[in-house]
Symmetry: C2
Subunit: 339 residues, 2 copies
């Protein structure tokens, strides 16, 4: 049996759910890939690093197993893994330190999975080219719409198609807030409820101001339309100015207000827009409730193709599945190059 | 440069659009796969076969280039191709003669692409296993939702997920008829309009009676849920009994009538249902206009994921793209085994 060693840089909800998923799909991995997946390193900002080349029993993990002097770059530099999963919180304004983590792992010829969209929004082309040069994979399916395979759908399953435009709702927090406000819930109470359900961050400012959606649109455009933009290039308006009166007025016309993301090419240049938009009765965007999201990919050979992520279910971690799906892809593509 | 030789069994709208697409994407094929795709055989029921191992100039094809004595099995038996594309009209009740065509080509160790759903609905497991035994590909992406990658999405991009249920609108003709009836157009006039636009068949009986949708649901369940059913196993009700009054009554409640397809496992057994159903305001099914279709794939690790095919655009042949996408997949997976 083969063995694939994984380093988790960041160990919050996604990292923990991913570790559980690995245990749950142990038999599947053995039967399908003749492989055992072991976590050999875990790193958190608060506790430092835990490095056990023979494999960490994540169920028995305790704080005293961490070494404060082992930071992320030290763990990554150790090379005691085949795949580095970058799961740290995003800094949307810089894509750091995640980009440095990824650069280092790729330069050591390690496969990389990132659930952090910053590096894809800020440095996609450089990281893609570095991975190619080193003969390893750079996977980022979980960065947009969690585990919904939007990148792979377009890159592999719409092969030969040229992507001409993108449209979607990409931020769950704002869509949830707008959905709640339609029910008469206040902006603040909607945020509280989202926090209670676990998907709204302590500081949702980046969501509300449209930065998260802009980073996702940027990532999608960089990868699928082969352009080179940053979140700063998106024409961005958040939902902070949307009032209950606006929402009521829309409702009376059978419409809804949604934070729409759109990208296209105009006069040879990429244009990206994130803004609250009135969506019409009968439109797909109108049906997106709560934490649902979607993207429509417009192409030359197939017209528009849409994928939808349905509202989160409490017992399923969609982002952790995105990380797992990238791992399965690496196993499929490189099954001979792991231990 | 490599050369991949294609035999087209059936040469109607899809075959012709596919041949045009190959010419249009000639540079892409050369740049991406270092490959030239040539059509070496074309077979039609009316004219017989045209076999030119050096490659057929499809733009200059005339009736006198066909040999009436060369039928489909003779063309397939010639072995003068690497990929056989089965594009004959479907016989939903038997899956023949398409299944025999595919069996013969696979047994000669040729890759097969089918746009004909009959063989997938009736004999999927046998054909899949035969292809595996012979080390070739059996591709059928165009059989459901045309070129929308529903099979590949579930098999490759939702890897590791168990598919627990399926739901969708899979038949464009009936969805178009129902949409037209909502506008006050009669059943008969809607059929005429669909024929004029080119997507409704001369005899749409198989669509109206729900057989086409049943065959597609069967194909999806066989492939994605690894069951072994036939279209006869589907609980099937067509739209023949739906009256303008039913549609009006639904409309008054903000609802619509749609031919819904649903499949799931109950007490360990596969259950498939195709029937006209009242869909509610705010539901995804409600937004499916005209020739649009969708499928939602329910899984253990990702909840529901939906893909949508948007209404046909006159200048795009979605089915032909499905055939092309299968060809690109074969080139990706077997690039060393073609000439």
């Amino acid at each position: 049996m083969n063995r694939i060693r994984i380093a988790l840089i960041g160990y919050g909800n996604v990292g923990k759910a991913f570790a559980e998923m690995l245990l749950r799909k142990k038999d599947y991995l053995r039967e399908t890939f003749d492989t055992e997946a072991v976590i050999t390193a875990i790193c958190t900002r608060r506790l430092g690093g835990c490095l056990q080349p023979e494999g960490i029993d994540t169920k028995a993990l305790t704080d005293d197993m961490f070494d404060r002097s082992l930071d992320a770059l030290a763990i990554i530099g150790s090379g005691e893994y085949d795949v580095m999963a970058e799961l740290t919180p995003i800094d949307i304004m810089t894509g750091q330190p995640a980009t440095d983590h990824i650069r280092k792992a790729l330069s050591l010829e390690k496969h990389v999975i990132t659930a952090n969209k910053g590096p894809v929004a800020w440095h996609y082309r450089e990281l893609r080219d570095l991975a190619k040069e080193k003969g390893v994979s750079f996977c980022h399916e979980a960065t947009v719409m969690d585990g919904v395979p939007v990148y792979n759908l377009a890159k592999e399953n719409l092969m030969g198609c040229r992507v001409t435009a993108l449209e979607g709702i990409l931020n769950a927090t704002t869509n949830f807030i707008l959905s709640e406000m339609e029910k008469g819930v206040s902006f603040e109470d909607a945020i509280q409820e989202g926090r209670r359900q676990g998907f709204v961050e302590a500081d949702p400012g980046m969501d509300i101001d449209g930065w998260d959606a802009s980073a996702k649109l940027t990532a999608l455009m960089n990868v699928l339309m082969d352009v080179q933009i940053t979140p700063m290039d998106i024409r961005r308006t958040g939902i902070g100015e949307v009032t209950p009166e606006d929402i009521e007025a829309a409702k009376r016309q059978g419409k809804r207000i949604k934070l729409l993301c759109r990208g296209w090419i105009e006069d040879g240049k990429p244009v990206g827009v994130v803004e609250p938009a009135l969506v019409e009765e009968g439109s797909l965007a109108l049906t997106m409730e709560g934490t649902a999201s979607y993207v429509t990919i417009y192409t030359d050979l197939m017209g528009g193709v849409t994928v939808i992520e349905h509202p989160f279910e409490p017992e399923i971690d969609h982002t952790a599945y995105g990380v797992l799906s990238d791992l399965l892809r690496i196993l499929t593509d490189h099954s001979r190059s792991v231990q």
